[in-house]
């Protein structure tokens, strides 16, 4: 998930930090130091993360749009000027716009706000924003909660005591609350110095920027992988104790399904699955991705030449047009597949389904999927020309059957006209005529709409009188019979009024009078 670093460049950030002896530091230097550390960490361990840099005072500016080029971000850090007062709300509005323009409203983003805890004065100050929070209209809505899934990390270039001496901490806590509790405030432990800033940013890195390592397993075939972006815990909207679900670090393949069968399923999130080489201590040696660094290069070279299960799996998934179903946790599954970025580049991807026993209705319950060898005969057919999927729902949806709805007059008129059209083509359309008639009859009985039955009976009788001389004699018989039956149904006492009763065509035999036929 992309990161926006929001850096306070108001004058208060230039306040000096008292350090004995050595050269004078300002708070902004501490901030830059911490961010450098963050960027360096990302450049080595989290290099696919997109990061943008925003600076703000009373105005805000997008210094670096979303990029994976950490050198550019680093450079921007050293080119920051000092401006006037802190005006947090407008900066947060800016973040909303930047993120939504780039990523829309569905992709989770992390906002790292770096400030000194001086929240501005007068209009535009955080205190003012919070005080007027309840008097907002839709047009000047407060930017929190962010209109996208988010985490707001507030990195304070101040220690707790300093923040507590004013109401700064309270205001910042309000901010996290307003973001639905999504986020955290970090303060410097002890005196303001480079070392303590490092340890504060270290905590942020541990919390939000540690790569997710897992073992991909298919029986005895295994590979160490990094999953990027790291899968975030998912809160199931459960009745009891909504515990965030975290995915297993063992990603166990349970079987395979054709792409055509799984179709395009809804997913929570999509992730790259990158094979990695780990040394004994479990530290990442390299992702095998070529790099300028020479040491790394040789490590990558070696890693590249050791057969890896991910590559085998990816190749076969791609060739066969299949996906691997992978178990992520208790009643939680996902799928692995090959995704082509371009003609040359393709990748092993993992999509997470929504947790639950039956994430994709057309596959049925996941636990009920078993190996084809257990089936009496191969459900895919001997020539691979069949498929057990999709499963049909137990009850058809209303749009998959002929449900009668007369809420709009047009619905009723269409149904009546259908009967009429078929009535005029009797006896050829006898079957359809009675089918439509029975459908109307059933609905009218259920809705207690007996006047309709009488009305349609009258209509059929009139049709009978309007039959042209050329009409088949059977037409008149059937129309009279149908009208009579509808009237019986509308009196609602006889057995003919039973819901399950069907009007059947009158049995006629005109074989003897074939001269009548046209």
């Amino acid at each position: 998930m992309p990161t926006v670093v929001v850096m306070d460049v108001s004058l208060s950030m230039t306040r000096p930090v008292s350090i004995e002896g050595s050269e004078e530091y300002q708070r902004k230097h501490l901030a830059a130091h911490g961010l450098t550390m963050l960027f360096e960490h990302m450049a080595t361990n989290y290099k696919l993360e997109f990061t943008a840099l925003v600076v703000f005072s009373s105005l805000w500016e997008l210094m670096v749009p979303f990029t994976r080029d950490y050198n550019t971000l680093q450079e921007a850090l050293s080119n920051m000027d000092d401006y006037d007062k802190t005006c947090l709300e407008s900066a947060l509005v800016g973040v909303c716009n930047i993120v939504q323009q780039e990523w829309g409203g569905a992709i989770p983003c992390q906002v790292v706000l770096v400030t000194d805890g001086c929240l501005g004065i007068g209009r535009g100050s955080l205190r003012h924003s919070l005080a007027t929070h309840n008097q907002r209209s839709e047009s000047n809505r407060f930017p929190l909660p962010f209109p996208f899934p988010s985490k707001l990390y507030i990195m304070c270039m101040a220690n707790l005591e300093e923040l507590q001496s004013t109401d700064s901490l309270e205001c910042l806590e309000r901010l996290i609350d307003l973001n639905n509790g999504e986020g955290q405030i970090f303060t410097i432990d002890g005196p303001l110095c480079l070392k303590n800033v490092q340890s504060m940013f270290g905590k942020l890195i541990d919390l939000a920027y540690t790569p997710f390592h897992a073992v991909l397993k298919c029986g005895h075939l295994t590979a160490d992988v990094q999953v990027f972006p790291r899968p975030e815990p998912f809160v199931v909207d459960e009745e009891i104790d909504p515990i965030p679900k975290v995915i297993n670090t063992d990603l166990e393949i349970v079987g395979f399904i054709d792409i055509a069968d799984i179709s395009s399923p809804p997913v929570l999130s999509r992730h790259l699955v990158l094979p990695i080489a780990l040394n004994k201590e479990g530290d990442e040696v390299g992702t095998g991705i070529t790099d300028d660094n020479e040491d790394e290069n040789s490590a990558n070279q070696i890693a590249g030449k050791i057969p890896n299960f991910c590559v085998l799996l990816h190749g076969s998934l791609k060739v066969e047009g299949m996906v691997a179903i992978v178990q992520l946790g208790l009643e939680w599954h996902g799928m692995l597949y090959s995704q082509a970025d371009s003609k040359k580049k393709s990748n092993l991807m993992m999509s997470l389904f929504e947790p639950g026993p039956e994430p994709l209705p057309w596959l049925g319950k996941m636990a009920q999927l078993g190996p084809i060898s257990d089936a009496k005969e191969n459900p895919y057919g001997e020539d691979d020309n069949k498929s057990p999927f999709p499963l049909q729902p137990k009850n058809k949806r209303s749009y998959a059957q002929n449900v009668t709805v007369w809420i709009k007059p047009s619905g009723l008129q269409t149904d009546v006209q259908k009967i009429l059209r078929n009535a005029r083509k009797l006896p050829e359309k006898t079957q359809t005529f009675y089918k439509e008639l029975n459908r109307l009859r059933k609905a009218a009985l259920a809705f207690g709409f007996l006047d309709l039955l009488k009305g349609v009976a009258d209509m059929l009788e009139r049709e009978c009188t309007l039959l042209p001389d050329t009409a088949h004699p059977d037409a008149a018989f059937q129309l009279t019979h149908a009208a009579q039956q509808l009237k019986l149904a509308s009196t609602s006492t006889s057995e003919y009024a039973a819901y399950d009763h069907n009007i059947t065509p009158l049995h006629t035999d005109f074989s003897g009078s074939s001269t009548e036929r046209m």
Partner: protein, 676 residues
């Protein structure tokens, strides 16, 4: 929406008293004049629905929408009320469909206008509604059983939608009081019962409906809390279409739905592709599908709000698929003020169910990822892609809907069976072609394909034995083996050495499965009896010392596949250990794997440029590369080996020198090759 929210249980209470037989006074023309008919026919007089018909029709529509979107876990109990309460269905899932309800309603029939109004009341129905809310649903029961001692934490909430014709506001208040009192009483009863649940929250939605043109005697009132358990709201609605619209709005509120109108749907896609005839369809779905519009504030409301001022729908345009290969899916385009086109949604059908997918129209955070060929294992070119494809097809999944039981009587979970099978099938599965002999031999297939099975038939055993005899025969005839010729011009080790490698590998495969059954054991016995093992003494003389150590190691490794670290691990370890060494170490790594057969005389990879086999494993195998591979394998068996190279197996010193010389070239050449 939580499972046991108010929406889990909905009770419809519809008034069946005599006044409900009154006309809604909204006429329906049903006898529409059709073209080319004889002039002068007077159409039949329009008819109108009764208050009852309007109520039933609208509530059925509510249920239809609910069942379509939530086929499970959202339940309806339908009650009609006159001189008593008639409960038309139960909470069980089987009762939850329109057909059941329609049949039950038909049995009730329309209200009798001549019945004595004094005996009839909606109160009977409301009391029954409270009673039914206390009844446990199968889902609640399941959740309670699962939670055991915490069973009381399963919620029991519900909603009563009552459609009636009330006399006044005080009449409405009387109904509310009655519900409140009944809840109070029944909660007391439920407290002392095992099969009843107390109502924690009840939402009463009172809908007063009256004929069009009359004045309402009841005023609207928004939701109000009457007690901690009961909230109530009053809607005063004219009958006819107004009532249907009201219930349509309510179902959207109650189940978090939103509306999308799809425009420009061509009539019969293909046949009339050139005609301009098209139509619109409105869909209801979970409102999450509009999350992007709602958050960005870009709500492009449907143009003409024919349905009234409060009906909001988002318009999306149907994009007729040009080709059919997308299957049963259609992309939907979002009209933007700027005129730019954005495909924002997709409709697709699975087994007769329609799904609306939200597509991401913004930048992807996964753009420009590193290619898999650049990562770990990306440079290896002889993966058994086709074999693993076959493996995947054998391990495809299929639904087992009927419960199956194990021998001990416990329920068998099909997915666990699938995992077991994967475990069995991968006990011995070399990933690259140059690491295996037996999987490159057609002659081994009959054995290899059945030995992984959980149990063998007599016929399977026989086939396995036949396979072994056949191999013995091949060895006797001194047939060549397809022993890793990848990247070599030479033939590799001597014939007897080749067979020894092959037998060892086969033994590893069979040993990995001997615990499956006694029949598997028999296959191993046959193998051990048949395979040739040259006397140890002779072997030792033949081989150099270093070689001998290695052999021991490999033989030991084969004894037990479980103990043996999966070869990738050992490889990787080696890779790391040798990290610091010179490049030449790389050639060693694959060779050194304990259980893989010697990739004999592995020549430096620079040679690969001259052999088309380098094509073999760049991702998908083309027909050409398959063919080339086949031809090359065949050819490599035919041509004569250089005498010098034949002896070079044990002559390590010489081989190393050779490697070193060409090493520099090798990396670059190879790098190029895999990047092609």
């Amino acid at each position: 929406m939580k499972i046991f929210s108010e929406s889990h249980k909905t009770v419809f209470v519809v008034d069946h008293c005599p006044y409900m037989a009154e006309s809604c006074r909204q006429h329906v023309e049903f006898d529409m004049l059709v073209k080319n008919r004889t002039q002068g026919i007077i159409p039949l007089a329009p008819i109108s629905k009764s208050l009852w018909t309007c109520s039933v029709e609208s509530s059925m529509e509510y249920c239809r929408i609910m069942y379509d979107i939530f086929p499970f876990k959202k339940l309806v109990n339908f009650i009609v009320s006159d001189s008593g309460a008639h409960v038309l269905n139960s909470w069980t899932q089987e009762d939850q469909n329109l057909q059941e309800l329609m049949a039950a309603l038909a049995a009730v029939g329309p209200p009798n206008p001549r019945a004595d109004p004094e005996c009839c009341s909606i109160l009977h129905g409301l009391v029954a509604a409270v009673e039914t809310l206390c009844k446990i649903t199968e889902y609640q029961h399941e959740a309670r059983t699962l939670l055991m001692e915490n069973a009381e934490r399963v919620g029991n909430r519900g909603r009563i939608i009552c459609i009636t014709n009330a006399k006044s506001d005080s009449h409405v208040r009387m109904l509310e009081d009655c519900v409140q009192e009944t809840i109070h009483e029944h909660n007391k009863l439920a407290a002392n019962s095992d099969h009843l649940m107390q109502i924690q929250k009840c939402e009463l939605v009172l809908i007063h409906t009256y004929p069009v043109g009359e004045d309402s005697l009841v005023s609207d009132r928004p939701k109000k809390e009457l007690s901690p358990v009961l909230t109530s709201e009053v809607h005063s609605v004219r009958a006819g279409r107004h009532l249907a619209t009201k219930l349509n709005i309510l179902v959207q509120q109650h189940f978090d739905l939103a509306s999308t109108t799809i425009t420009n749907i061509p009539m019969k896609e293909e046949q009339h592709a050139n005609t301009s005839a098209n139509y619109d369809v409105e869909l209801l779905h979970h409102k999450d599908a509009h999350v992007d519009f709602l958050k960005s504030g870009d709500t492009h409301l449907g143009g003409s709000n024919r349905e009234g001022p409060f009906k909001e729908t988002i318009t999306l345009k149907w994009c007729t698929p040009r080709t059919n290969n997308i299957g049963r899916s259609v992309l939907l385009e979002q009209p933007r003020k700027s005129g730019s086109k954005v495909i924002s949604h997709m409709l697709s059908s699975h087994g007769g169910e329609i799904f609306l997918h939200v597509l991401s129209s913004s930048r992807s955070i996964l753009e420009d990822p590193p290619s898999i060929s650049e990562g770990c294992g990306g440079r290896v070119t002889d993966y058994r892609i086709t074999d693993f494809g076959e493996f995947m097809r054998e391990n495809r999944l299929t639904p087992f809907l009927d419960p199956r039981y194990k021998i001990d009587g416990s329920l068998e979970i099909p997915l666990e069976r699938a995992k077991d099978q994967l475990e069995k099938h991968t006990r011995y599965w070399p990933m690259i072609i140059s690491q295996t002999t037996i999987f490159n031999m057609q002659a081994v297939v009959p054995l290899a394909s059945v030995i992984v099975k959980e149990s063998l038939t007599e016929e399977d055993v026989l086939n396995c034995q036949k396979t072994i005899y056949n191999l013995v025969d091949m060895e006797r005839k001194n047939d060549p083996l397809p022993i890793s010729t990848v990247g070599t011009r030479g033939k590799g080790p001597k014939r007897d050495e080749q067979y020894r490698i092959m037998w060892n590998e086969l033994e590893t495969l069979v040993r990995a499965h001997i615990n499956n059954s006694e029949k598997h054991q028999r296959v191993l016995e046959c193998l051990m009896a048949c395979r040739s093992k040259p006397p140890e003494e002779e072997e030792r003389k033949k081989r150099g010392r270093k070689r001998e150590d290695k052999e021991d190691k490999s033989e030991k490794a084969m004894k037990d596949y479980e103990q043996e670290k999966s070869w990738q691990d050992s490889e990787r370890l080696k890779g790391i250990l040798e990290h610091g060494k010179e490049e030449l170490a790389e050639a060693e790594i694959i060779k050194d794997s304990p259980d893989s057969p010697e990739p004999p005389n592995k020549k430096p990879l620079v040679e690969m440029d001259e052999t088309p086999q380098v094509e073999k494993s760049k991702g998908p195998v083309s027909l050409l590369s398959l063919w080339c591979n086949r031809i090359n394998t065949a050819n490599s068996r035919k041509h004569q080996e250089f005498a010098g190279r034949l002896n070079s197996v044990n002559n390590r010193a010489e081989l190393y020198q050779h490697l070193k010389e060409e090493n520099g070239m090798e990396t670059t050449e190879n790098g190029k090759a895999s990047r092609q």
